[in-house]
């Protein structure tokens, strides 16, 4: 198909204007960023005073509502189940409305104000979640067991009880499900963890809550999630779609993939072969180098994964917190050639 993104609609104050042009995606993106920035500047200039008034109004309204919700959470009577459910429902709606109020106000708030408000929202939400867990424990629902055979857990008994990790999205329901049906390794320290091709082939693999472990996955999963990792070395064969990395520190990651999505990660080196693009968001001190690991059969695995071994865009890293064109992001760098690791034999031949 030839036509791609042929219509650009630029919202204007007085209605909509449609312009039909043929523009490459990169230009569109940059243009969008530029427009947003221009609009922001214009708003800033035109309405500095209005803005201040609005921001005052926002702060007082937001804080009043926040306090009201906090009071409801702390002083309501939750002993009657039906009443408790109703109160929780009411609080949920008020929190949602407050979030919407915040969203609608973002245009005239400073980054600092937005961050403060977001932090307050998160606090409210987690107090609510805690309260709900306490007064109305959630029923667990049954997952299908079609992937049960792939589970390989070093310490299965710890799984359901370990909630210490402050995963933002992990509720009890979802956490419990992971231990039983997910292919991968979780909750391990000081271990060497290995999986062979047939165990992970075309699977969605999760590595989570690992400290000081060395992991080798000799095969090609469909996708790989790496979450809550500290001081680990993780090597994996070609991943056919994306690798999703979150909350990783002081580690070394090595794999080929189609997309690499890195979040909340610090002081980590990534030796990657990426056929489309790598991105980082909320990361610091991430360093990149080209993928160099090899093992018998890896060429076939590139084929199975549908990755082109000759196409590696490891130097094209997009930082979603750094959209300034022209100046490079301070959050990532290339590992100098002399510092790159060239041998990956941390264990004997498998």
């Amino acid at each position: 198909m030839a036509a791609l993104g042929v219509e650009v609609t630029v919202p204007k104050d007085d209605g909509e204007t449609n312009t039909a042009v043929n523009v490459p995606e990169s230009v569109l993106r940059r243009d969008q960023a530029r427009l947003e920035e221009a609009e922001r500047r214009r708003n800033v200039k035109e309405s500095q005073t209005v803005k201040e008034e609005k921001s005052d109004f926002f702060t007082s309204t937001f804080n009043a509502e926040k306090t009201a919700v906090e009071e409801m959470l702390s002083s309501s009577n939750f002993s009657d189940r039906d009443k408790a459910a109703k109160t929780l429902e009411e609080i949920t709606v008020r929190i949602q409305q407050l979030q919407k109020f915040l969203n609608d106000s973002m245009l005239f708030l400073t980054q600092y104000e937005i961050r403060q408000a977001q932090a307050s929202m998160q606090k409210l939400q987690s107090s609510l979640d805690e309260k709900r867990d306490l007064v109305l424990p959630k029923k667990k629902f049954a997952f299908r067991s079609r992937n049960a055979g792939a589970t390989k857990q070093p310490e299965p008994s710890k799984q359901t009880t370990d909630k210490s990790a402050s995963d933002v999205g992990g509720t009890v329901v979802v956490d419990a499900a992971i231990s039983v049906y997910q292919c991968g390794f979780s909750n391990a320290e000081n271990q060497v963890l290995i999986m062979q091709a047939e165990e992970i082939q075309q699977k969605d693999v999760l590595l989570s809550h690992l400290t000081n472990c060395k992991v080798k996955l000799y095969g090609c999963p469909s996708t790989l999630h790496i979450k809550n990792i500290r001081s680990c070395e993780i090597l994996c064969g070609p991943v056919s779609s994306s690798v999703f990395v979150d909350q990783c520190t002081d580690s070394t990651l090595v794999f080929p993939c189609q997309q690499l999505r890195t979040h909340n990660t610090t002081a980590t080196q990534i030796y990657v072969h990426v056929t489309s693009r790598a991105i980082i968001e909320d990361c610091r001190e991430v360093r990149f180098a080209p993928f160099t690991w090899t093992y018998p059969g890896i060429h076939d695995h590139f084929k199975v994964a549908g990755l082109d071994p000759d196409r590696n865009n490891w130097t094209d890293v997009d930082d979603f917190n750094w959209l300034a064109a022209g100046t490079p992001s301070p959050n990532w760098t290339v590992i100098p050639e002399t510092e790159r690791i060239s041998s990956w034999d941390f264990v004997g031949p498998s």
């Binding site: 198909m1 919202p11 989570s208 056929t275 489309s276």
Partner: protein
């Protein structure tokens, strides 16, 4: 007749629809869009901004907006709400750890006045992954049955195999068409 009414009429004569695709990052929005349009999906990068595709399907002209879902981009979603006929919410059915985030984002969206008239299609994507949750599990986690404000439907699909993409889009078009094109 006001200008807006005239514009609206014109749009309806051309049987034009505006669809907005949202969801967390990595859900597969861009892959669904390109696959549906018969394009190569292996070169897709994480979306830094948005993509627009204009395509004809069953005599309708569809303007599909696909906006990036990274955390840092979500506050921009609201720039795309205006005149949306259909909202396509895409879920990575195998990403259990973020389903709660996914539920929260969707429920915030549904409070939006500017999306009040839109039909909601939820794609429970990545059904080809062995660890994915079924569309019924997703429906429960996202509490879809609590939605009283929008017409909605959930469809399990895979952007990689193309399975059920058409089923979902066809349902969406039927629902929108019944709502906005029958009046005249």
């Amino acid at each position: 007749m006001g200008l807006l009414t005239i514009l609206k009429k014109m749009k309806h004569k051309e049987r034009e629809m505006r669809l907005l695709m949202l969801g967390l990052d990595n859900a597969g929005k861009t892959t669904i869009l390109k696959k549906f349009n018969g394009q190569d999906v292996s070169t897709i990068s994480p979306t830094l901004g948005f993509n627009i595709e204009t395509l004809e399907h069953r005599g309708f002209k569809l303007n599909i907006w696909d906006v990036g879902g990274q955390k840092s981009l979500r506050s921009y979603w609201r720039n795309y709400f205006e005149s949306t006929d259909g909202l396509v919410w895409v879920v990575d059915s195998a990403d259990r750890l973020r389903l709660e985030d996914c539920r929260k984002e969707l429920s915030t969206l549904l409070l939006e006045e500017r999306l009040a008239g839109a039909t909601l299609l939820v794609f429970a994507n990545k059904q080809d992954l062995p660890g994915s949750l079924s569309k019924d599990a997703i429906r429960e986690v996202l509490a879809l049955d609590d939605i009283k404000t929008h017409h909605w439907c959930i469809v399990g699909c895979s952007a990689v195999t193309g399975e059920n993409l058409l089923t979902g889009v066809d349902w969406l078009l039927d629902d929108i068409a019944a709502r906005i094109f029958t009046a005249d």
